[in-house]
Symmetry: C2
Subunit: 135 residues, 2 copies
DNA sequence: TCCTTTACTTTTGAATTGCAAGTAAAATCA
DNA sequence: TGATTTTACTTGCAATTCAAAAGTAAAGGA
């Protein structure tokens, strides 16, 4: 992580925030999977171990990508939500989806999703964004 | 790396190819920095160590992202070039540049580059692409 | 009061990384 | 032609990170 060095390449900066496999998968589950709680992220199909999940959540929060809040009035439960900074990543993530769907001969990307993205990528991003606009 | 499992999420597939910091920095230097030789990549500002560089080049080649060819007639020198698959990543990388330039208060992204990208991102990608169309 | 849920932390061995040095073959130089 | 340099790596080793499994602590619910 080069956050304070003389290295100010925008690609490098982006990688410092989401250049780790698990960080992006957490964001994916948050943005597209409707996941908001620790145990929901822990149940990702890729099988993240809980120590890594905890460290990545902390890292994402430190990088201003997600916020951690109490779930409803007093309780020992938390909600993780994307910040605007994370939502601004949607165009990049959508390009990732398109690239993966295009180049993986066995892609499992739902055709209706890839079709919607192809037709109107910005509109697709806006739709996802709206789901978090109230928070 | 999940290349053969039941996990066929397009984001996950993309991460299997470039979800590592160094892979993407090599691609960056190749696409935008005009680098083609081993020792040029080894001299990246981020300081990749040579064992990691060698393993990443091998990995990128195995993933169909780059090709390794002999440099000119007989010689012990190689040229690394992006494949079409890698060039198809340009839209994603361009989104990374925009995100990084936008969110890093101390970004070193050249204003003329970010301006050109903002004005016509697809055109910018096409310009980069053309440089490799002859190979 | 005991059990469960939730969000972690800890432990341990394995894998990966970073750093430095070494190597091998071809090309260039003297 | 022999010596040096260039190029593309490999090797060794300590340190960090990771995965897997188990443990923990506080709050809620039965």
């Amino acid at each position: 992580m080069n956050t304070d060095t003389l290295d100010r390449c925008p690609i490098s900066y982006t990688l410092d925030h989401v250049g780790d496999r698990w960080s992006l998968l957490i964001l994916r589950d948050m943005l597209f999977g409707g996941k908001r709680h620790y145990d929901e992220f822990a149940a990702s199909p890729e099988g993240i171990s809980t120590n890594i999940l905890a460290s990545r959540l902390k890292q994402l929060e430190a990088g201003g990508m997600i916020s951690k809040r109490q779930y409803q009035e007093n309780r020992r439960r938390y909600v993780y939500l994307p910040t605007d900074k994370a939502l601004d990543l949607l165009p990049m993530i959508i390009e990732m989806i398109q690239w993966g769907a295009r180049h993986d001969p066995h892609t499992g990307a739902p055709p209706e999703v890839t079709a919607a993205i192809r037709k109107d990528p910005a509109g697709f991003a806006a739709t996802v964004r709206e789901k978090f606009s109230s928070q």
